[in-house]
Each structure stands twice: as structure tokens, then as C-alpha cells.
Amino acid sequence: MPLIAGGVGIFVLAGVVFGVTYFGSPKFTDVGYRPIQPIAYSHKLHAGDLGMDCRYCHTAVEVSAKATVPPTQTCMNCHVICMPESEKLLPVRDSWAKKEALEWVRVHKIPDYAVFDHSAHINRGVGCTSCHGRIDQMEVVMQVQPLSMGWCLNCHRNPDMHLRPLDQVTNMEWIAPDDQLLLAEQFKLERNINPPTDCTGCHR
């Protein structure tokens, strides 16, 4: 009996350890978050097929901590003329007419006690896809990276594969060239890249 109890005990313990590490990990709790947005906006159409640059809408990404979600005005730049009768666009026209903001649902969120600055990363050549994945292939945006501390630190300790020429940052199709490691060394010197790995780098 003690043997059987011990055996079951080990199984239960292993199960608990597995359960906590697997289901408690941000890879389970956060990756795959794909909320329904107030309108059926397709990044695949706009950023993929039309090939529009991320910064057309996310204007502040190079100069501030936040990439910023565009105001309805940005949608209406084109949609005053483009598909003005579309039913899908009704909430956008409503928002425009009533001067009320569209309530987009935030997808990517790091904890409030961690600091993240988009501009610091963009201006040093970390591409959008490193954290957000292939947005240009997503009909509805989904979180594809855990955005956990361990995941951040992986890159802060060894950013080499994520550093690009500055004009390629928003290129969704960029692939690291064969001499990427050499280029990365050069980028790190040129751009003074020395990612913090101490606590206060992000927790201030």
C-alpha cells in the first residue's frame, strides 16, 4: 500500500508541476489572445495586400513609448470616398459623425509595473515582427509572443537576430541575411545598443 500511495503521489506531484508550468505560463494564458474588435478591420488587407506601412496609422511609434491606435480620422482619410456605403464600416462612420472614439480592444499588453518604449526599440532597428509576428497575414490581430519577462530577457541578452537596417524595421517580410551576426555587431556599435538586463531597466 505505501508503495502504491507513493507511486500515485509522484504522479500527482508531476501532474501539478506540469499543470502549473504549462497552463500557468504566459505561453498559455496570453499567447493566442485574439479579441473581437468593434469593426472587422483586416490587417491582412491593409498592411498585407495594400502594403501600407505600419506607421501610416501607428504614427507615434517612432517618437513615443506607445505605438498608438489611430483615431477615426485616419480611417476616414480614405473611407470618405472608399466604400462609403459599406455595412462593415458603419461603426467607423458612426464614430466619425458622433465624434466618439472607436473602442478598440487592446491586444498586446505588458504588466503595468514594466516599462516598454516602442521608440527605443524601433530606432535601434528591432523589427515590428519580432514581437508582433506577421501582422500582415492576420485578418484579426492575435498575440503570438508571450511578452513575459523571460521572453524579453532572451532578446535583451542576445538581440543579434532581431537587429535590422533602420529602413527595414516595418518590413513584414524581412529575413535575417546570412551575415546577420556580423551586421548585428556593426549595428550594436553604430547605434550604441546595450540592452539593460538589470531590474531597473524595465521596472522603474
Partner: protein
């Protein structure tokens, strides 16, 4: 004998963990798409009682955290007295003829990058007005920069159009800062030259290269 042992081992009690296992399996694998907000087993202080940029507010009547400037006020440093620079017109209200910013290689490259982001979807990368949207449901053809009328426009006019919009073109002053607008104006001029140059525009030294 062995079967007996097996039967005994999976006792009804042990079988009671089967629903538990099924429940765990029903939670799915890592990375499976889901729509409800993420639930963190240990919430820590992940979501604090504070306003983040662009978040909603139940304090202000319009529901927005970010506030507009009080009407009739001007923020420090935003008086924008320099009319030629900020509006592209001189004190008499005429469009300025020259770019308000010093022309450099850097400025042109900046203009090119900004043009490709904000202007090329409609005007195309070469400025002929055949941008990608003309292949979609956009019925009105954007203006080409390569007509005599557009070539004769003042730099201040281009700046004013980017700032305030014209006809079907919206204002881009919210998306493009003043400096970048002037950079784009410079680049549009470069685009115009690229499709309307004569031999005399080329430095004598470089002509040799061409005639070879």
C-alpha cells in the same frame, strides 16, 4: 493474475481522476486562439488602477483619458508664429515659393521615407497618381505630380495641401509633423525632376557617363 492486478490497480477511486484529466485536456494547448481577456493565475499588479495612454475613463464625460487642450489656449512653444514654416504662406497670404527648410541629402532621404509611408498608397512611389488604392475600390484617381500645372505650383502650396488637404485629399497634419511635411515637399520636387529632366540639368562632368 496480471489482469487481476491491472483491474485492481485501476480502482473506481483511481478512475475518478479521469474527469480531471479530461478537464485539463479541454483547456487546450499553448497558443490556441481565444477571445476572452487573458486570465493570469497570479494577477500581481499587472493591471493597476491608473490611466494608460488612450485608455477609457469613467471620470470624464466623453469617456476618454487623454484630454484636448482647453479651447482658446496655446501650449508653450506652439504659438507657431513663423507663417512660412508652419503654414507655407508669407505674411500677405501668398504661398512661399521655396522650401522653408534647408535642402540636404538627409532631408531628401527623410522625405522619401515619409512619402513612401503616407503618400504612396494613393500617389504611388513615383508620384504618377496610380497608387495601390486605385486598384481597389477607390473611384477617384489621385493627382499625378507630373503635369505642367502641378510642376508650376509653389513649394508652399504643396505644404499647404499636405497640411490642410485639398478637394478629396484629407489633411495630413495629424499624421505628419511640420518638418517631415517640408521633407516630403522636397522629395516631391525630386520626383518631378526625375520624370522631367533634360541634359542641361545634369552636371557637365556627369554627362560623359550618360553618353557612353
Amino acid at each position: 493474475m496480471i489482469f487481476n492486478l491491472f483491474n485492481n490497480w485501476i480502482s473506481p477511486k483511481t478512475m475518478s481522476i479521469v474527469p480531471l484529466l479530461l478537464a485539463v485536456m479541454a483547456m487546450g494547448c499553448q497558443g490556441k486562439p481565444f477571445e476572452k481577456p487573458p486570465i493570469h493565475p497570479n494577477p500581481n499588479m499587472d493591471t493597476q488602477n491608473r490611466y494608460n495612454p488612450q485608455s477609457s475613463s469613467d471620470f470624464f464625460a466623453d469617456g476618454m483619458t487623454m484630454r484636448m487642450p482647453v479651447p482658446g489656449t496655446v501650449a508653450q512653444g506652439e504659438l507657431n508664429e513663423n507663417s512660412a514654416y508652419y503654414r507655407g504662406v508669407d505674411d500677405q497670404g501668398n504661398f512661399v515659393t521655396d522650401n522653408s527648410v534647408e535642402l540636404t541629402d538627409e532631408l531628401l532621404l527623410r522625405g522619401q521615407a515619409r512619402y513612401n509611408i503616407y503618400c504612396s498608397p494613393c500617389h504611388s512611389r513615383v508620384g504618377d497618381g496610380k497608387g495601390i488604392i486605385t486598384q481597389y475600390k477607390y473611384p477617384i484617381p489621385p493627382t499625378s505630380f507630373h503635369s505642367d500645372i502641378v510642376r508650376q505650383m509653389d513649394d508652399g502650396y504643396f505644404f499647404s495641401v499636405i497640411t490642410n488637404g485639398v478637394r478629396n485629399m484629407p489633411s495630413y497634419k495629424h499624421q505628419i509633423p511640420v518638418d517631415d511635411r517640408w521633407a516630403i515637399v522636397a522629395y516631391v520636387r525630386a520626383l518631378q525632376h526625375s520624370q522631367n529632366a533634360s541634359l542641361s540639368d545634369i552636371p557637365v562632368a556627369a554627362r560623359q557617363e550618360l553618353s557612353r
